[in-house]
């Protein structure tokens, strides 16, 4: 079995948003829609204040509420743990969006352009009518992951078959790999460090781990 997960080292993330930009470039998301974003969270009270940068997006839960509620079976969980959306099946009811506790799903009903009324050349070229009025979200760059089967490369290690956000991370804070593979990069990170997952109490078994300290 394979389960692809992402690991974000909160000690390393500097909030540069390069992953956000890389995701936008790789997936051509419309203005206002970011499948990967980095939150800037300030905690504590003066003088004990901390600032933490937290990458978020679809957590690719093992028990995803979005998949449970989807009336059209457009949202599916693949055998490798990636939660995907079939844009041709989706009816755009938005039920998955209200079921997701990570605010990871977006529905865009009308084409929006980055600068005024004139579309840029890249916006015209990469516009996808099939993604209008249906749910969309991070898919761990599944096209790249699927290419690994043909090339024999390893997702999370070889950049060609690794999500764009991970490739772009300049602080080496984002990692991707197969959690079920005992020799994988992410398994090693999870074994060597202390981690948590967001909103773990909701029981969705998210596939996104946050490192907060090394093992003691």
């Amino acid at each position: 079995m394979t389960r692809y997960v992402m690991v974000a080292d909160l000690r390393r993330c500097v909030g540069c948003q390069t992953c956000t930009a890389a995701c936008k470039h790789a997936n051509a998301t419309p203005p206002g829609v970011q499948w990967r974003q980095v939150l800037d969270m300030e905690t504590g009270t003066y003088p004990q204040v901390q600032r933490t940068f937290v990458p978020v997006g679809c957590m690719h839960c093992a028990d995803p509420p979005c998949e449970d509620v989807c009336p059209s079976t457009a949202t599916k969980i693949r055998p490798d743990g990636i939660v995907e959306i079939d844009y041709d099946l989706c009816i755009g009811c938005g039920y998955c969006a209200v079921a997701c506790p990570y605010q990871a799903r977006h529905i865009v009903h009308k084409r929006d352009l980055a600068y005024g009324k004139e579309a840029m050349a890249n916006e015209d070229k990469r516009f996808d009518e099939g993604r209008m009025s249906v749910a969309m979200k991070c898919n761990f760059c599944q096209g790249r992951i699927d290419k690994a089967k043909e090339t024999g490369q390893t997702p999370g290690i070889d950049p060609e078959v690794t999500p764009a956000c991970v490739n772009s991370c300049l602080a080496d804070a984002l990692h991707f790999g197969d959690k079920e593979d005992p020799d994988s990069n992410v398994n090693k990170l999870l074994a060597e460090n202390q981690t948590f997952r967001m909103h773990e109490d909701l029981g969705t078994d998210p596939g996104f781990y946050y490192i907060w300290d090394k093992n003691k």
């Binding site: 938005g94 039920y95 009025s133 907060w212």
Partner: protein, 302 residues
């Protein structure tokens, strides 16, 4: 781009609320119209009320159709009965609407078939109860909206559907049948049950924790819901029981107040208090040789 604190979801608006309003009132009416048609009751006419119940459910479904992004793929809604309460609601509606229409037509003077009407109106009532339950479960399964997923909301949705149905029954009684003391007593009971279930929902939601803004919206709307939908409706229903001559019309007024309270309650829950989960950190990362700092859940109470 949104921030860290919970913000109001943008995917379900008044059209979604319309489904819960129409569906709840319609199914409540289909159930209570069947009960009111029992021998020995006040002999209210089933056919106009059953028909109205089906129309209300239909209006609710039409609201959903207006809401979905790809309306011409609407039949895909039937694809996931294994776990989706929306699919289950759709399946129930596909049987509920024709059965209710058959019951109404065969109970009418235009195509009187008492043998058929008797069975189908009870089948319609059972299907209506299932539909109402599906609606309650739809909200409970919305894990991203703390005010919806709380289990204490489910009895509120069911009870308010019945109370609204009873309100419509009182309207129908005033128009077609005259006085109806048991219906008034039932409305008082249902309004009391709704008041108690709403109180319990608010108390438990506050205790288990919810976005501060959602609690503010719900608490802000409660006086209006209570004053109109509960207290005024109950007082007018009691007056209708006492003042026999004006009973039917006072009963109709009590019914209208109960309906208005229920509709406003659902509109507030669906379209005003639907703040999402937001983001949270259980603790902050260790940097250098320091210690982990306390976490935070911005925009939440508890």
């Amino acid at each position: 781009m949104n921030g860290i604190e919970p913000w109001h979801q943008v995917n379900w608006d008044w059209r979604a609320a319309g489904n819960f309003i129409g569906g709840g009132s319609g199914t409540g009416l289909v159930i209570l119209a069947a009960i009111a048609s029992l021998p020995g009751s006040q002999g209210v006419l089933y056919w106009p009320l059953g028909l109205l119940g089906a129309v209300l459910v239909g209006i609710g479904l039409f609201c959903v159709w207006l809401e979905i992004g790809r309306p011409w793929r609407a039949l895909h809604v039937f694809f996931h009965p294994q776990s989706s309460w929306m699919t289950r609601e759709a399946f129930v509606s596909a049987i509920l609407l024709p059965v209710t229409l058959i019951a109404a037509v065969t109970a009418s003077p235009y195509l009187p078939l008492p043998g058929v009407a008797g069975g189908t109106m009870w089948l319609a009532a059972i299907l209506a109860a299932l539909y109402l339950f599906c609606q309650a479960r739809i909200l409970h399964a919305s894990k991203g909206i703390p005010a919806w997923r709380h289990p204490a909301l489910m009895p509120v949705i069911v009870v308010t559907g019945l109370a609204e149905g009873c309100g419509f029954l009182l309207l129908g009684t005033a128009l077609f049948a005259g006085s109806a003391s048991w219906t008034l007593a039932l409305l008082i009971g249902l309004v009391l049950a709704r008041w108690l279930s709403w109180r319990r929902y608010l108390a438990e939601l506050t205790e288990t924790g919810a976005p501060t803004k959602a609690l503010a919206v719900l608490n802000g709307a409660t006086p209006m819901i209570n004053n109109v939908g509960h207290f005024a409706a109950a007082v007018v229903a009691v007056l209708a029981l006492i003042w026999i001559d004006a009973g039917p019309w006072l009963g109709a007024l009590a019914g209208l107040l109960a309906i208005a309270g229920g509709w406003w309650m659902k509109f507030v829950v669906i379209a005003r208090a639907a703040f999402n989960q937001g983001f949270a950190l259980p603790l902050t990362p260790v940097r250098g040789q320091g210690e982990a700092g306390p976490g935070d859940k911005p925009g939440w109470r508890n």
